[in-house]
Amino acid sequence: MKTIAVIFGSRSAEHDISIVTALSAIIKPLEATKKYKIEAVYIAKDGSWYWDEKLKDIKLYQSGAIDEFMRKAPKVQLQFDNGLTLVKSSQFAGRKAYKKIDVVFPATHGTHGEDGELMGLLEMANVPYVGCDVPSSAVAMDKVLSKLQTQAYGIVSPKMKFFTKSEYSENVEGWLKAIKTDLKMPLFVKPARLGSSIGITRVENEKELVNAIEVALHYDEKALVEEAVANLIEVTVPIIGNDELIPASVEQPLPKDDGVFDFETKYMNQGKGGKKMSGGKAGAQGYSKIPADISKDLYDKSLETALGVYKAVGCQGIARIDLLIDSKAKKVYFNEINPLPGSLYNHNWRASGWSNVDLVTRLVDLAEERWNAKQKLTTTFSTNFLKQF
């Protein structure tokens, strides 16, 4: 039986969402396959790592018992042995518990995880892992980089200007003028590497623009200013695959002020009655329509754009691509990529005929396929450099 380590939590604004993703959307279905042994690895808000069966129980976090647990539990050590082994000291004096990991399933959202940092560690360990690799994760995390990279592949995103804090402060007037001449109001100003709409402002005039840039640069060293898409319809497309890509349904998240419905009532746990287990990026979205309520033409264009983005950025395993549609001009713009969608967006996959178990099983297979392919590449060379030295 293969051992899969699910790593979640971490120093991120989306720490709590990650716990739900890991426990309900990954560990439960993986265990339901009966094919794998699952190890839960939790990264606390302070960055400490823990590994324990108890960490699989959502109640531990809900009740606050996690603090008590962390006071007593030993922290995890990672052993890199051309693979990854979890190590922790056990109750018996001097004895240590070891667990060799066959596949890692990263389940962190946002900073210090989804942004590629965790993937770097796993690459160093040479252990197969689920999802996007280091460069694609890092690019996906950066709204400027991801737009530049996809533009190189002919994918359209709203026209933008971007700058670092020092570039901007050296020439404020110049930047404002350039924005005014090259971009059309209204505009969106965003920090380059944040999520959850933090620090984002929509601006209608120059005075608002100056403030908005200050706000964005308060959150990040890098900011972007882009044209607002008119007649906006937002859609999102979950995709899985390494080389052969499979999209789920094009989904249309409806504005969060749309009333009482949320993902929960609409898509999760139907018939089970209300227990909060999962829910997209909770709070960021209201309920949604699957499939999106758009013309066949726009639906196909959305799929095509999303698949193009996935390829251009070099995503693997799984990702979700957010698109902005101008419904009058019938144009589809790329907005951003989420390498690890909350709860894997499994409500959409289920609506598209993939059970939770089908989804996680496929993702684990994809991780192993990619790793196997990589082992065939030559990465070391023997030289006589040392002898000559």
Partner: protein, 480 residues
């Protein structure tokens, strides 16, 4: 190891609760309790294993039994300790006493149940039965008895739902189908009902006759025959004989018998009035359409035509539905009332009850406990459109000598229905079903689950939109 654990399990301080639970499950029948506890010992199962699904319901009777057992245990210990102290074996004797305690308590409970049965319950039952017979005899409503090895409750509920559209109807509640519940039902009547419907449960030979004597039905409906209670009947013929004894009480043209039950056919009198998917009482069905939302069909006789739609699932429901519509017509109900009543028929809890889970249709048929019902469900599964079809069952219980035959038939029916994934539970029925499936050429995926409960909670992770999952006949505790 297993033996030791089973042995030790009797010394949990909670043992009286488990015994009381077992007694409750067998309706306080000392004989059945004796058999079950014997089986438990022979199979070296732990005492706790009896109650993995349900829990003891603390009724007054259960409370009394638990208290009595604890009381008995206490007195036993005190008396025994006293004996031990006066005599002089001490430690050894004390040990023997403690070891014997749960088992002595078991016999105590059995004895108590036996005494209560004969001294209190039986005479009380006799009095109630006589009173009920008087109430039924004086009642002016049309009296319908529903009997058969399966489908009684469904039939009764259908009658009640449809007839209620135009008449005042009273029916025995839930699964209550023993004499005492009939007596209680009689007491609850107001006297102004147009129709009385009573479900006759056959538990042991002579039951039907006793119930008929009490109720004196005008009509009787026999829903089917299956080897269901063979633990208490010598053979299928005895069950059939019991069911058909209704002809001694009801005129032959008012006994309506299912023509869909293969086993029943062999025992029927020539003049029997049958009801089938094709129709009954001169009515003919046509245009039958089963979907996940129910079944629709037309019913014709001479110039009359009903257009009927029911929420019940499966083509096989058409036979009872058509019968009830025909009977409603005979009792003077209007076409519009019959059609409206039919629309109100919906699946019952755990009987071919469709539920949407994670975009998939789960058909909960957990209360289906006989081969014919299971075959019908499998036919529906074959008929429904779906991307992926699942079939889940632990097999059938209570089949006596028929066990092998029934599970072979079931395996065959599964192979014919040919779902994409079949999930069986790892029990004594599994190898028989599996072999029959494979013999019939089943080539799709077969999964065997060791822990049914585990599987049931994981279903939500296993299914997605486009799936249909049919789950038939949950395993009950006393047969695990």
């Amino acid at each position: 190891m297993k033996t030791l654990r089973a042995f030790l399990s009797y010394y949990s301080p909670k043992f009286p609760l488990y015994f009381a639970y077992m007694l409750q499950q067998v309706e306080y029948d000392p004989k059945k309790f004796h058999e079950w506890s014997g089986r438990l010992l022979r199979n070296t199962q732990t005492l706790q294993s009896v109650a993995t699904r349900k829990r003891l319901v603390m009724t007054r009777r259960a409370k009394l039994l638990v208290l009595a057992t604890y009381g008995f245990a206490t007195i036993f210990i005190i008396l025994y300790a006293w004996l031990v102290l006066v005599l002089d074996f001490r430690i050894l004797a004390l040990l023997i006493g403690i070891l014997a305690l749960p088992h002595v308590s078991r016999y105590f409970l059995e004895f108590t149940a036996y005494v209560a049965q004969n001294l209190i319950i039986a005479p009380e039952q006799k009095r109630m039965t006589e009173e009920a017979a008087r109430i039924f005899a004086d009642h002016t409503g049309v009296k319908i008895a529903v009997l058969g090895s399966y489908g009684k409750t469904t039939m009764k509920e259908l009658l009640a739902t449809i007839l209620s559209q135009g008449k005042k109807v009273a029916a025995t509640p839930g699964n209550m189908n023993v004499s005492t519940s009939h007596a209680r039902f009689a007491r609850s009547l107001k006297g102004d009902e147009d129709v009385l419907i009573v479900e006759f449960g056959e538990g042991e030979p002579g039951d039907i006759e006793r119930m008929a004597q009490m109720f004196k039905p005008d009509y009787a409906i026999i829903t089917g025959l299956a080897p269901n209670h063979l633990d208490y009947y010598p053979d299928l013929k005895a069950v059939a004989k019991d069911l058909l004894s209704i002809y001694d009480f009801v005129p032959a043209d008012k006994v309506l018998v299912s023509g869909e039950s293969k086993m029943l056919k062999d025992f029927l009198p020539k003049a029997a009035h049958v009801f089938t998917t094709g129709g009954t009482l001169g009515w003919k069905t046509s245009n039958i359409k089963p979907t996940i939302a129910g079944v629709t069909f037309d019913l014709n006789k001479a110039k009359s035509q009903f257009k009927l739609a029911s929420g019940l699932l499966g083509r096989y429901q058409v036979a009872p539905l058509a019968l009830v519509a025909a009977l409603a017509d005979k009792l003077g109900m209007s076409k519009s009332d019959i059609e409206a009543g039919m629309k109100k028929t919906a699946p019952f809890q755990h009987r071919m009850q469709p539920r949407l889970i994670n975009g998939a249709w789960l058909i909960d048929d957990a209360y289906n406990g006989n081969l014919e019902g299971m075959q019908a469900g499998l036919k529906l599964l074959a008929e429904l459109p779906a991307k992926r079809k699942w079939y889940v069952t632990p097999g059938l219980v209570d089949q006596g000598v028929e066990t092998v035959r029934v599970h072979k038939e079931l395996g065959k029916a599964i192979a014919e229905s040919n779902p994409n994934i079949v999930v069986l539970m790892n029990n004594s029925a599994r190898p028989i079903i599996e072999e029959a499936m494979l013999n019939e050429g089943f080539k799709n995926e077969l999964r065997v689950e060791t822990n049914p409960l585990d599987f049931y909670v994981q279903i939500e992770h296993l299914v997605a939109s486009g799936d249909v999952l049919l789950m038939q006949n949950d395993w009950t505790d006393n047969y695990s």
